[in-house]
Symmetry: C2
Subunit: 512 residues, 2 copies
């Protein structure tokens, strides 16, 4: 069985898990019955519990699905605390369904898999030791990778049924009114966690900061929360932000950023009221800087900036160059701190951000998205999940979701060290070429042949060489040579869903 991006899919597994192969990026107009949680009624007077262990005992049973958010990123103190207790209690056969997994959780997840405590995982991604462990066959059942929008979709239609959500927050009152904006371990938007708070049967907040009732603004509401557990510390503020708030000085990154800007400015979308999503990292910040200048020069403003938000984006909001920041996640302290005081920086949940089975998500209104790639192939398919060794080391994040924008730009160096980024065939298809419009490398750009209009718009821009993507691939190959084909076993260690829940690719166990 092959899907529409020419990937061979394991028929037995597809049937067993009731999956369909990926066909198209078009979502259409299906009617979707949403689901809702089971609520255990209380007046709310006894929610504050001293002992996390007591709460885990009351809520978590063998076979359940538990969830966490990753807004604390590598500053997270919540996941390991909860999992230690779950391990100690000998609970088995859990499905782990966090919004994503960060490095600080890796050792504990591996320990829990080995103990039989975690037997299933769905996540946006995984990196480091855990990716390595899974790619080498450490987990019996295949991991299911879902984009942020797809996770929202799956929670809203019941494909992911969360029994207990453990959500760390930098503040909460005694009934569970909480936000990400005040306290020591501030991360700003609670965007991903809002899905868990709304749909989990049991919601447990962990906080180091119990404040007066009623706590407002209440991103998470008392009507959603069963327990509030006081812990010493929910997170390390210094490790929450990505750190990268400075522009890159790397000439290659600057060149790419400048060309990304040229693509945007010369596209039909660069006009008053346009919208965009950039990512995190030095190169993305550099794009924001170039774009800022172009907007000033052209005298135009953007209606909104979307996605994971950075300080430079907030700066554009403050300057009036961007009217609204639609904020599902903050990537640094400055962005997180700003949400509290700027009414035009609107917290949005993952459904509003990107659920495709929706009455319209923000990504559906997006003009320009600048996304990254580990690999991109000559069909414009993008891999952000597996490394050149075939090992899992990435995350879908909002990649598939934001790629629905009118102008999706992949910004990537032609080669990284001795490894080509532009390849004949990506190791893992995460985002289908159908939704990718332009590749920008330090040597020049390639335009998806589906976009004749962009070919016309971008063919005569000074300093913006336009290549056939096959030529960029050959150029990359000429620089780093042809790698040995990767060796995989037949065993599927992960399924990569497209945002509509079909299977776009699988990841096989690597051969040692």
């Amino acid at each position: 069985m092959k899907n529409n991006v020419n990937r061979e899919l394991p028929e037995d597994l597809m049937k067993q898990l009731d999956y369909k192969p990926f066909e198209t990026t078009e979502i259409g107009h299906p009617e979707v019955q949403r689901v809702a949680p089971k609520v255990t009624v209380t007046t709310g007077d006894d929610k504050v519990v001293e002992s996390l262990e007591d709460v885990v005992k009351k809520t978590v049973k063998d076979g359940m699905t538990i969830s966490f958010h990753h807004h604390f990123r590598n500053g997270d103190f919540v996941f390991n605390q909860v999992m230690d207790i779950i391990l100690k209690l000998g609970i088995k056969d859990l499905t782990l369904a966090p919004s994503s997994l960060t490095g600080v959780m890796n050792d504990k997840v591996i320990e829990a898999i080995k103990a039989g405590t975690i037997t299933n995982i769905t996540s946006s991604g995984m990196r480091g030791s855990l990716g390595d462990f899974v790619s080498h066959g450490g987990l019996k059942n295949p991991v299911i990778f879902r984009s942020h929008g797809n996770r929202a979709r799956s929670i809203e239609n019941g494909n992911i049924k969360i029994d207990v959500a453990f959500l760390g927050v930098p503040n909460s009152d005694a009934l569970g009114n909480a936000n990400g904006m005040n306290g020591d371990a501030v991360f700003g938007s609670l965007g991903y966690a809002l899905m868990d708070a709304q749909y989990a049967d049991k919601v447990v907040l962990l906080t180091d900061n119990i404040v007066d009732y009623p706590n407002t603004p209440a991103s998470i509401k008392q009507t959603q929360v069963d327990y509030v557990v006081k812990v010493d510390k929910v997170g390390d503020p210094d490790k929450i932000g990505s750190g990268a708030t400075r522009f890159t000085k790397d000439p290659k990154e600057l060149k790419i950023a400048s060309m990304v800007n040229d693509v945007i400015v010369n596209s039909p979308y660069f006009k008053d009221g346009f919208s965009f999503q950039t990512g995190s990292g030095g190169a993305a910040l550099a794009v924001t800087r170039f774009l800022r200048q172009s907007m000033i020069d052209a005298g135009i403003t953007a209606s909104f900036a979307l996605g994971g938000i950075t300080s430079p984006t907030v700066k554009l909001l403050e300057e009036g160059l961007v009217k609204k920041v639609m904020d599902v996640q903050d990537f640094d302290k400055g962005a997180a701190a700003s949400m509290k005081n700027n009414q035009n920086q609107q917290e949005i949940d993952a459904s509003w951000y990107a659920d495709p089975d929706n009455k319209g998500a923000m990504v559906d209104q997006l003009d320009v998205a600048i996304l990254s790639a580990l690999e991109i192939d000559t069909n414009f398919n993008v891999n952000v999940m597996t490394g050149s060794d075939g090992v899992i080391r990435g995350a879908i994040g909002g990649h598939q979701d934001a790629a629905t924008s009118k102008l999706t730009i992949i910004s990537a160096p032609l080669v990284r060290g001795r490894i080509a980024t532009v390849v004949p065939d990506v190791t893992t298809v995460v985002t289908p070429g159908e939704s990718v419009d332009v590749l920008v490398t330090e040597y020049g750009i390639a335009i998806n042949p589906r976009r004749k209009d962009l070919q016309d718009a971008l063919s005569n821009v000074p300093g913006l060489p336009v290549y056939d993507i096959h030529d960029l691939q050959k150029l990359a190959e000429s620089k780093v040579g042809k790698p040995e084909p990767l060796q995989f076993t037949d065993r599927t260690v992960a399924l990569v869903e497209y945002r509509d829940g079909t299977i776009i690719d699988t990841i096989k166990q690597v051969k040692d």
Copy 2:
């Protein structure tokens, strides 16, 4: 069959509609499966529709349940516009399930009942010609009266399944992001309408003010909205507010207000961090004024004020005497205008406000509630639904809900004209005496015998005469005499639910 407030209930009807008799105000800890809407997927690009008739044709079918909100009160231009089209299209057998019905809707509802277009109604209340029409047997099926909290409960558990909600808003963008804070017909909190937006299968916004995308704050979100219809005017700003923003000069009302304040101040609940709900109308505003002075004198502040919000309450917020205003509805322009700029005036939905089947509603945390009464009897049962002639002329509103507060005060004159307020037996039990603590009249107060603690606390307050409620009833009777018993037929024209969905009373057709 009698319930726990000694009301005879129609056994056949109870069985037919699967109702249980009211037993207790205690909600307990049931497990409740919530429901969720069916979503028709779209990217949201084609939501704006010029013709309201087209939208009605697409969405409303015979036998459906349709809903509206009453935040515009008597300034509403939405209900009649929609109903005119529904009538014109000859749609039949609809259930009308608005958050409440205001006078401006009455004629149209009667017309629609007569046409067979509306055959069932559930509402918080009804007044004037419509109450008269129903009380005289004009609607075949009994009306079901529900409190604001009970409506939220019923929507959340599927007892009220809204097929199409028509929601007027003073602003919306083209995808349906909307709030009650900007535009011509501003009403502030969208509290009651938020239930409809979240749970209806189809949500139609009507607005006279389409603003740039994305519109924030988005009380109603694009993820909830199917259509945005541009109309000439959604409401008359001058008729939205109750008008009553001035303190009463009526000496009787002032005396009652002063005694209400005495009850609060001398109760065990008047301490730093206490919370309260007052209502609208001159007397309630006077209570707020007295309470303000008492708080200043005692040097204490309130943690929150709840409920329908008035300008004097917002003033307390601005003075720092109240820390948070939790706002499900605004009763005047000042209160509505304030929400936009004051972060501590938090919009809350009807579920958060008062749904009893919840993980804790605001009313569960309420210390003091000051409520009104058309009648109160010697068992402290309160009637806010039927007049002395037995005709429907009221609304439950949040009465049953706020009565769960720790100190529930009924503020009412002993007599109104030639009609006693304190009676042996109320015409209709809306709020059970079990949840009422103190009656305050211009002659003095009566304390529910269940509250020995309050008897002790309030027995020696200068200027606060404490009566047995039977004595107040006799006093009233001595002033206005014993009225002729009301004459009803056997036919049930309305069922009054308690907030947990049991039947607390029925209303019979009046004899002509």
